[in-house]
């Protein structure tokens, strides 16, 4: 897992590569000030950190079957003596691991 410092270095390189960046204020297109660039690096680094630390939550939410589908799995598991629902949940968790 990358540290926040490492992610900040990565974000700095990305913002440097993206220069020049502009903002639109009062109908004018102005280049970022040094403070704007510094804030863009901070925002990007923090976003990378949040994605690294908490991105698995959103990824799991998207990967889980709907409640209706999961209930259907549980019904047929009970009827057929299978383990489909548990395997589905385990697969989603394993595909999107929580950071150590």
């Amino acid at each position: 897992m990358a540290t926040l410092e490492e992610l900040t270095t990565e974000a700095t390189a990305e913002i440097e590569a993206a220069k020049p960046l502009y903002k639109q204020v009062n109908k004018e297109r102005l280049e970022f000030t040094d403070d704007d660039y510094a804030q863009a690096v901070t925002d990007l680094a923090n976003s990378k950190w949040n994605e690294q630390e908490f991105g698995y939550i959103q990824a799991r939410q998207e990967a889980y079957g709907s409640i209706a589908d999961q209930l259907d799995m549980q019904y047929w598991d009970k009827v057929n003596g299978t383990n489909t629902w548990q395997e589905h949940i385990a697969q989603v968790k394993s595909d999107n691991p929580k950071p150590a």
Partner: protein, 175 residues
């Protein structure tokens, strides 16, 4: 009722910019409630987060005091609850925007308590994003910036990318 929505500021983006600011020197503090409308926003980067910050004294506020909660409605998968406490901005997309030809981001926000220096400022959000692979994402929720200070505008940014087109309009709701 005619004339009850008063346009305060508008920015029309036609060349790529990383951020757009509304209000600031154009801010009119005579309203209790404001409406922000983002129309047909296009992005330069797939899955770029669209973020919203409040301005104080004309400067975007970036402290980790933005709390947000919303329901995300997606056309190709399970709906999700989205909770983002103590962020440095409101993240008004869920997965992000898209560079697909027909991809657009549209949203409507109401802003409350902006002029009150002793209370927090709030916003509501109602978004509609047409994204990669013809997926529609809708988001409904609200947020609060937990710093008691007056605010005089908003900044919309495309994290890690650019806004390539769009109309950003700020209205005051006449009392």
């Amino acid at each position: 009722m005619a004339g009850s929505l008063i346009k305060i500021d508008e920015e029309i983006v036609t060349s790529a910019v990383a951020s757009v600011e509304l209000g600031g020197t154009d801010w009119d503090s005579s309203y209790d409630v404001y409406q922000l409308v983002i129309s047909n926003m296009e992005m330069s980067l797939n899955n770029a987060q669209i973020r919203l910050k409040f301005l104080a004294g004309g400067t975007p506020q970036s402290t980790s005091n933005y709390d947000e909660a919303s329901k995300v409605l997606v056309s190709n998968t399970t709906f999700a609850n989205n909770s983002l406490p103590n962020y440095s901005a409101f993240v008004i997309t869920y997965v992000g925007a898209s560079t697909d030809t027909n991809a657009r981001f549209n949203s409507n926000h109401f802003l409350f308590n902006m002029n009150n220096a002793s209370e927090y400022s709030f916003m509501t959000q109602e978004t509609s994003a047409f994204k990669n692979g013809a997926v529609l994402e809708g988001k409904q929720g609200g947020g609060v910036y937990t710093v008691a200070e007056a605010h005089n505008g908003v900044e919309i940014t495309a994290l890690g990318g650019n806004v390539t087109a769009g109309t950003f309009t700020l209205y005051g709701l006449k009392k």
